[in-house]
């Protein structure tokens, strides 16, 4: 029955893509939403009935590639990790499908849009249920492709095309690292199946490939490095993150599904899946911890200074993904997964309610013009507020349970205090940008733009297809933390036994943390809220330095620098290379030069013809003669 979800999603895509125009707009909306919801219900049923036993199920579907010992089978792996991921993906996906009925109803290409969403869901399901690296890569690339198609969905917009190209190209870098990783895995382990690799890891722990005075690299380190670069590209961590904020050009349901809840968590999923490998590579774990910590701070700072509502939420996504990566680096894989689970709910809620606000306000995304909208879209505003509170980590909302445990976990990392500081600082930043957004949207009153011009569609957000997903997600972002805590990170939970592995020395019991440390994040939240309101009550032009603000607003100039030093170099110099080699050197020492030489020789021997064209055929025969002579010359030498 579980295998049915592939057939359901595939048939949904194929039927609607090729025959969608026979059903009409409503038919396509209904069918795609129905099929996705059906597959979600199947997974939910399986989860509920099988929650008590954790034996993984391997469903085989025949051979894919088989060349000597490189044999890859269509084996789908259903263990506790992939079931949780399936719940997240299909749950959010079916809600977003329903929401798209509201959001995309008036688009002429909405059936194409729905098909892309379904295809994305299918690829994501293949990604999380794969039992070997090749299938994982199929899903990995497939979601990237659907992301490209959906970002450039409104293809007449230049910005959308630029963002789509950027997303695809940066992701190709990560994809290639992933290919390198699994080729190296195949070379070392002689297999690409997860279970074969994971059971053979201990043999290769001490196999050193590079050794110097400062550090030694084992082969596991190198493999994990390649996988890690792939993961941090997909999860938009510092350095390779540039595509995610730009991807906000996509329609908002896409941002909610792909760029907040599911696709960007694929990187975290990869690390969690390969926990058997990462556990034996302390170097990569350390690197992950630091990259997560830096991402939390940097993206929090950038989020503080943005004015586009979707970009703020996007940077918040990057920052929260930083928490997950950091938790992975501290070997708290189940913490990362728990945060992923909760984050999917409240971030999708934030995006969807932002989408309905944008839609109502006539496609206005700048928060300086979105003031006091709680009187226009009351229920959506409530949902947005609850999502924000959950994101901040106000106690007993869902974000609290996961984020607070990650902060507690990082307090055990005593090698460097910076990690703990950065997680706490991340809390401050999250609170700050959330309440800044809250202030702009709901409290600040600016009658010039939004009310006097009447550039909003009255009661436009009052639509069942809008409210059903929002209310379900609101419920989830209040309750999912409480419901899932025991399952994910409770003491002695064996739910992830077999699918997640951490060494004994890396396991910490956050329940026994000091009360002072436990209360610290809440204290920071309260202080930040007080500060933010104080700041905006006594508003002067710039409390913070203008240059600092510019640095944050221009995203630390990371994108510009990457463009300048990598993209432009290839793009500009390719033209120069073309003229230097293909139209220059190779022509000169090739046909053109030879032709010139033959002309000269011919002129030398024949006195009648001066400066005349000797004809191609003659020239050609002389070429052949010359080459014969050169051949004999070479042989003689």
């Amino acid at each position: 029955m579980l295998f049915g979800i592939y057939y359901i999603l595939l048939s949904s895509f194929v039927i609607n893509f090729f025959f969608g125009h026979y059903f009409g707009k409503k038919g396509v909306f209904f069918l795609t939403s129905f099929f996705t919801t059906l597959s979600f219900l199947i997974v939910l049923y399986t989860f509920i009935t099988r929650i008590n036993f954790v034996v993984p199920e391997l469903i085989s579907g025949g051979v894919w590639v088989s060349v000597l010992n490189f044999s890859v089978k269509w084996n789908f792996l259903f263990d506790s990790l992939s079931i949780i991921m399936l719940l997240v993906i299909l749950g959010i996906s079916s809600l977003v499908h329903v929401y798209s009925i509201y959001y995309m109803y008036h688009d002429p290409y909405c059936s194409k849009f729905m098909c892309y969403l379904t295809a994305f869901t299918l690829f994501m399901v293949i990604l999380v249920t794969s039992s070997n690296f090749l299938m994982l890569f199929l899903g990995w690339e497939g979601v990237g492709l659907c992301s490209f198609l959906l970002i450039s969905f409104w293809s007449t917009r230049v910005q959308a095309n630029k963002a789509a190209l950027k997303a695809m190209l940066i992701n190709r870098v990560g994809d290639y690292f992933l290919i390198c990783g699994f080729i190296l895995i195949f070379i070392v382990f002689k297999s690409v199946d997860f279970y074969v690799i994971f059971s053979k890891v201990h043999v290769y722990i001490y196999k050193i490939v590079l050794s110097s005075k400062f550090f030694t690299l084992t082969v596991i380190d190198v493999i994990c490095f390649f996988l890690m670069v792939g993961a941090i590209t997909k999860s938009a961590q510092l350095g390779l993150h540039g595509w995610l904020p730009d991807a906000m050009e996509a329609p908002t349901p896409v941002s909610a599904l792909i760029h907040a809840a599911t696709m960007v968590t694929a990187g975290v999923f990869l690390i969690i899946r390969c926990s058997y490998l990462f556990e034996f590579s302390p170097l990569c774990l350390k690197f992950l911890t630091y990259i997560g910590a830096f991402s939390i701070i940097v993206f929090g700072c950038i989020g503080l200074a943005q004015y586009d509502i979707k970009k703020i939420i996007a940077y918040s996504t990057c920052s929260q993904l930083g928490y997950m990566i950091l938790a992975c680096g501290l070997s708290g894989y189940n913490f990362a997964l728990f945060h992923l689970f909760n984050h999917a709910g409240f971030k999708a809620l934030l995006f969807l309610s932002a989408g309905s606000i944008i839609h109502t306000m006539n496609n206005e995304q700048d928060i300086r013009r979105l003031n006091a909208i709680n009187s226009i879209t009351p229920l959506t505003s409530v949902c947005f507020t609850i999502g924000s509170l959950s994101l901040i980590g106000i106690p007993f909302f869902s974000g609290f349970y996961s984020k607070d445990s990650i902060i507690s976990l990082s307090s055990f990392y005593t090698n460097n205090f910076f990690i703990y500081i950065s997680t706490l600082f991340g809390v401050i930043l999250t609170t700050a940008y959330s309440f800044r957004l809250f202030y702009y949207l709901f409290i600040k009153e600016n009658f010039n733009s939004s009310f006097n011009n009447r550039n909003f569609l009255k009661n436009y957000d009052f639509n069942y297809f809008n409210f059903i997903p929002l209310i379900i997600l609101t419920f989830l972002s209040v309750a999912s933390g409480y419901l899932g805590k025991t399952l994910f990170i409770g003491i002695g939970t064996n739910f992830f036994f077999g699918s997640i592995f951490s060494l004994n020395k890396n396991i910490f019991y956050i329940e026994f943390i000091d009360f002072k440390l436990k209360i610290l994040p809440l204290l920071f939240i309260v202080l930040t809220i007080v500060f933010i309101f104080f700041y905006y009550k006594t508003y002067k032009k710039y409390y913070i330095d203008y240059n600092t603000f510019l640095l944050f607003n221009k995203r630390f100039f990371i994108d510009s620098l990457l463009n300048l030093f990598i993209a432009f170099i290839f793009h500009r110099n390719s033209f120069k290379i073309y003229f230097l080699f293909d139209k220059g050197l190779l022509e000169f020492f090739g046909p053109t030069g030879l032709s010139y030489v033959v002309d000269k020789i011919y002129e030398f021997f024949s006195e009648e013809i001066h400066n005349g064209d000797i004809g191609t055929y003659t020239k050609f025969s002389v070429f052949t003669l010359l080459s014969v002579m050169i051949f004999f010359l070479v042989v003689a030498i």
């Binding site: 088989s66 000597l68 490189f70 497939g142 230049v158 190209l165 190209l169 290839f570 191609t616 052949t624």
Partner: protein, 482 residues
């Protein structure tokens, strides 16, 4: 069986050529199409009649001159049957794509097409170096006329001479090597020469000139100048044949006459070969970024892909060989599809300059879908045969030298960059008025779908069932690795 197949094809060619000459010009298309279709089905029949995964070689002699003791040694093994199938599959599509395109000298065009198909058939059948050389060079003659007569611009004469000149000049050494082998061993039969153990100096000497002849055809980095020229000037069917089949002759030559025959030469020249291939990969995809002509972009991407196939060959293990073989086949589907698509675009708007196009997915949705599929296949995306091919090649290269795999990241990213850039430039963006005002914005016709769909379907199908190709060839490759 093999002899019967050969005789059948020869008689078929003869009869269709006679009919072509005798009958009216209007019927020449039909005769060419029937010929290619019958060829295709007979080769499929032959393929299923003989189990090539077990049969090593089915061969026979044809005595030509009794006086000089020259035998035409012909045969079919698992390597050649795949290429014969590929060729006979592609030629009906070529005839279809030239159906409305060729407006003058129709008879002689299809005469050339039929002759070219027969010549390529003979190339794949040859197990004798001398006759391989003869047919290898003979394939240039129809191609030369196709470019020089039915090309589009005045530069076409130059382009056809580039094609001819590069191949002929660089294969002069190949000819003398063949004569040298004949003078020493008294035969040029490759199945005999495979059993001979050449001395080191002999291998280095022979291997270098063999390499030159095939590298020009592949084409590898410094010998590739003819390819963009010829592609740009050739008519659409010419481009399809050139990219789909003539480039594969170089690959075929390497596998048949180099890999198992000169193992020491392969070992000795490996640094040079690998350097040229890596350069070709990166250089080809880098230059494709800077082109303004769609055909030139795709031609440079061919350079990059065939260089990657070359890397697979010189890695000299089973994964690399199988990978390069799949690249060669996948590249046939993809580049033929892309050239056919560019031809369709050219028929509508009469330009190939990228900058003039924009927003075509609003008016040509089917075209955009097909173009998108072939573009993503071109940068080895999953869902296309090229993906499996590239992964296997990289595994082969990785077993030999993992650093090269890491360097190729530049190739991979640049390749996806120019492919997506091309797609976004042509199919996305705001729609230009000019493209609508010409009133030529009808989507793909049924005939064009018939050309594209087989390529699309096979590339997709073989991605999920690559074993159908691999099982045929696996034993052959295992036998030639030393």
């Amino acid at each position: 069986m093999t002899k019967a197949f050969f005789l059948f094809i020869s008689i078929l060619t003869l009869i269709s050529l006679i009919f072509l000459v005798l009958l009216d010009e209007a019927e020449s298309k039909l005769i060419a199409f029937l010929y290619t279709i019958v060829f295709f089905f007979s080769s499929i029949f032959f393929f299923f009649k003989v189990d090539f995964s077990k049969l090593f070689l089915s061969s026979f002699y044809i005595k030509i001159f009794d006086f000089f003791q020259i035998y035409m040694y012909l045969g079919i093994d698992s390597l050649s049957i795949i290429f014969i199938l590929l060729m006979s599959f592609l030629f009906p599509l070529v005839v279809l794509s030239s159906w409305d395109l060729i407006r003058f000298n129709i008879k002689s065009f299809f005469f050339n097409i039929i002759v070219l198909e027969f010549i390529l058939f003979m190339v794949f059948l040859s197990f004798d170096l001398l006759f391989f050389y003869v047919w290898f060079e003979a394939s240039l003659i129809p191609m030369f006329f196709i470019i020089a007569i039915w090309g589009s611009q005045t530069r076409k004469i130059l382009a056809s001479f580039y094609l001819l000149g590069y191949t002929v000049i660089f294969s002069v050494g190949f000819l003398f090597c063949i004569l040298y082998l004949n003078s020493i061993y008294g035969t040029t039969n490759i199945t005999f020469l495979k059993t001979v153990v050449f001395s080191r100096n002999q291998q280095l000497f022979l291997g270098f000139f063999f390499f030159l002849a095939f590298a020009v055809k592949m084409p590898l980095f410094p010998f590739h100048l003819w390819l963009p020229e010829a592609h740009v000037e050739a008519p659409t069917p010419g481009s399809i044949i050139l990219a789909g089949l003539l480039l594969k002759l170089g690959y075929f030559g390497f596998i048949r006459f180099f890999v198992g025959v000169f193992p020491l030469a392969l070992e000795f020249y490996r640094p040079m070969f690998s350097m040229l291939s890596i350069l070709g990969c990166i250089y080809g995809s880098c230059l494709a970024l800077s082109q303004d002509d769609i055909k030139k972009t795709i031609a440079y991407s061919s350079v990059a892909h065939m260089s990657l196939a070359m890397l697979g060959i010189i890695s000299n293990n089973i994964f690399g060989l199988v990978g390069s073989y799949l690249i060669a086949i996948g590249h046939t589907f993809v580049s033929s599809g892309l050239f056919a698509l560019v031809g369709m675009l050219y028929n509508r708007y009469h330009t190939r300059i990228i900058d003039y196009y924009s927003g075509l997915n609003l008016i040509l949705p089917l075209f955009s879908f097909m173009f998108f599929y072939f573009i993503i296949s071109n940068f080895s995306f999953p869902l296309s045969l090229n993906f499996i091919a590239e992964v296997l090649t990289l595994i082969g290269v990785g077993f030999w030298n993992f650093n090269i795999v890491f360097i190729l990241i530049i190739y991979s990213v640049l390749c996806s960059a120019f492919c997506l850039w091309l797609y976004v430039r042509i199919c996305h963006g705001a729609l230009r008025d000019v493209l609508i005002l010409r009133k030529m914005y009808f989507d793909l016709s049924k005939k064009e779908i018939f050309i594209l769909f087989p390529l699309f379907f096979l590339s997709l199908f073989l991605c999920f069932f690559p074993s159908t190709l691999v099982n045929v060839i696996l034993f052959h490759f295992m036998s030639i690795i030393k």
